[in-house]
């Protein structure tokens, strides 16, 4: 068990280190305001990342989540514009997301087509549907949405937890329970570890894969709804490339892309670290456009190497402390 917690501990250590560094360097950085922003601004990526965690744990990958977020936003905005209640729209879209996810899972497993490609197709399809629905961005004007975006849970200091942040925390709790305390969760780990063996051990592999992508579809819709609430609008180009952010969040959180290894909580820190990197750059504010990109890449690199170093030294320490 201990060996499995190591990557996540390393991730958290690097997060704290990076945060402390920012605090030393910039005024106003060590405030609950910045921390609250971090949770709010990255909530949708993290929610998408939670679904992605299941997919990656099962040995798959999902490239469609960015398009899914855009699609949910524009579809919801259009529905609300036609008089739907946002929650009703979400409910309908949730069903759609689950069905689409399940369909992808079924194609992946039944026809043995690689997840990368199936979800890439879904990525094109959903983004294309965004354009078909509307080329313009569509505002969502509804009392419920306004109430949601005005809702604040004050933190000590100048910060607060916003609606998106709370949705994210609730989604996290749900994901942790599903991944670590249900048979379905255990089966996801088994399938990702070795699908052929899992089948021989009696795991219903087809059902698990379909379930994973359906669940991911639900998280995708939730991320899309959070994003739509967060921006009070739908925009056909919204969240393009977010799938890579979500994948990066999962992997930085210590989950292996080969499947079977990782913890849900890691994804949250993976997402926060990416947000933190951006916040540091914005606080600095003196970089040229190109340096911004280079520094994001560079910090990503530094972080990953740091994480490896921490893991290596902890393993070595453990080795000398407790042989055998």
């Amino acid at each position: 068990m201990r060996e499995r917690r190591l990557p996540i501990l390393a991730t958290i250590a690097v997060f704290v280190l990076l945060y402390a560094l920012g605090g030393l360097h910039f005024n106003h950085f060590l405030s609950t305001g910045v921390f609250g922003n971090l949770l709010t601004d990255n909530a949708f990526v993290i929610i998408a990342g939670l679904g992605m965690t299941f997919v990656i744990l099962s040995g798959g990958i999902d490239l469609s989540v960015g398009s899914m977020i855009g699609f949910v936003g524009i579809a919801m905005a259009t529905m609300v514009a036609h008089g739907w209640h946002p929650l009703a729209a979400i409910a309908v879209l949730l069903v759609m997301g689950i069905v689409l996810g399940a369909l992808m899972g079924w194609i992946i497993d039944a026809f043995e087509i690689q997840p990368f490609i199936v979800t890439l197709t879904a990525m094109f399809l959903l983004r294309g549907l965004c354009f078909v629905i509307s080329l313009d961005s569509v505002p969502i004007k509804h009392p419920f949405v306004e109430a949601f975006s005005d809702f604040h849970l004050a933190l000590p200091g100048d910060g607060w937890l916003s609606g998106p942040a709370l949705v994210m925390l609730a989604a996290l709790a749900f994901a942790v329970v599903v991944a670590h305390f249900t048979r379905f969760g255990a089966n996801v780990y088994a399938v990702g570890g070795d699908a052929a063996s899992a089948l021989l051990l009696g795991v219903p592999v087809r059902r698990t894969i379909v379930g994973v992508y359906a669940l991911n579809g639900a998280f995708g819709v939730l991320a899309g709804a959070t994003y739509a609430f967060y921006t009070s609008s739908g925009y056909p180009l919204a969240a393009s490339g977010v799938e890579l952010d979500a994948i990066a969040a999962v992997v930085i959180g210590g989950t292996l892309l080969t499947g079977g290894v990782g913890l849900v909580i890691g994804t949250v820190f993976g997402g926060l670290i990416q947000g933190l990197i951006q916040t540091l750059i914005i606080f600095d504010g003196s970089l040229d456009s190109w340096w911004i990109r280079i520094v994001i890449g560079g910090l990503l690199f530094v972080f990953i190497v740091l994480q490896k170093l921490i893991m290596r030294s902890v393993t070595a320490l453990g080795a000398s402390a407790a042989p055998g």
Binding site: H28, N37, S137, S233, A238, A239, I282, S286, S289
Partner: protein, 291 residues
């Protein structure tokens, strides 16, 4: 004085020039400019604006990626008593949440291009359109503005329209396929491109297909980047609506005036757009010290 500036990104020729002007002008005026490049993503802009608020800057300038989605953070800025100014693109929020917008009018650019074409073709023309990125505000507005004029002329028709993503390569590829589909631009009288970069690509495609750009086909586009002026001067393009990039001074003037206590701004400080043709291209090049 500390000002946060959230820029869309650094795509094309026009925007980097705009960013550079903003920085140079800030340095001239001793403004501590916090510059953030959103790489074309709305979520990055929202992060930037929230961070500016947390940093307690004196004013925030936003060149928005999209028109929607700004209510929440603008309210936060207002609560923190930080004035917000818009540059370039618009937002559809409650106007009381920002001070003013300082920019040109995309729709007007489209109308200018349309008007020029109507006049140059005497109201009779089959047009091929190279659209900008699908769904982006300039693409939508330039299309709408252009069509609002051409709709007045029954014999002006857009016969083909595809997206070239605002890039030279995209413009070239789309133009090539149009040339093929129309058998060498037979019957086509004009190409309208939503920006100069795509038009540059289209011009290359025409040359490679043995056509004479600017002569066989009329070419009109938007932006007025240096390369387009050169082509105009060389007679290989016909018209371009200039979108000025050296507008830093206009923007900072407004911001500084506001911070000094002036409040009665119009909600839109319009920066005029001019259309340039082969006639004045050489003079314009000389004026800008370009060759």
């Amino acid at each position: 004085l500390t000002i946060g500036f959230s820029q869309v990104g650094s795509e094309g020729d026009w925007r980097p020039a705009f960013s550079k002007d903003m920085k140079d002008e800030a340095a001239k005026r001793n403004i501590d400019l916090k510059y953030s490049d959103a790489q074309g993503k709305e979520e990055n802009q929202l992060k930037a604006v929230r961070s500016f608020i947390a940093q307690k800057v004196d004013a925030i300038i936003i060149a928005p990626v999209v028109v929607t989605g700004w209510d929440a953070v603008l309210k936060e800025a207002k609560a923190a008593k930080i004035p917000v100014f818009l540059a370039d693109r618009d937002v559809d929020s409650d106007p009381s949440l920002f001070v003013t917008r300082i920019s040109a009018d995309f729709n007007l650019e489209g109308r200018l291009a349309g008007a020029w074409l109507a006049q140059a073709s005497k109201g009779k023309c089959d047009v091929v359109e190279l659209q900008g990125t699908v769904g982006s505000a300039p693409a939508l507005q330039r299309k709408k503005g252009f069509e609002s004029v051409t709709a007045l002329f029954p014999d002006i028709k857009i016969v083909k329209s595809q997206s070239g993503d605002f890039t030279t390569a995209g413009g070239k590829e789309v133009a090539e396929s149009f040339i093929k589909a129309t058998n060498g631009f037979k019957g086509i009288c004009a190409v309208y491109a939503h920006n100069d970069n795509m038009q540059l690509g289209a011009i290359q495609a025409m040359k490679e297909a043995g056509l004479k750009p600017g002569k066989d086909v009329l070419l009109v586009s938007v932006d007025g980047v240096p390369d387009m002026f050169r082509l105009l001067a060389a007679g290989e393009a016909n018209a371009s609506v200039e979108l000025k990039s050296d507008i830093g001074k206009n923007i900072y003037d407004v911001v500084e005036a506001y911070l000094k206590g002036k409040t009665d701004f119009p909600k839109w400080v319009l920066i005029p757009s001019d259309l340039h043709t082969q006639a004045d291209a050489a003079a314009e090049l000389a004026k800008r010290g370009l060759k």
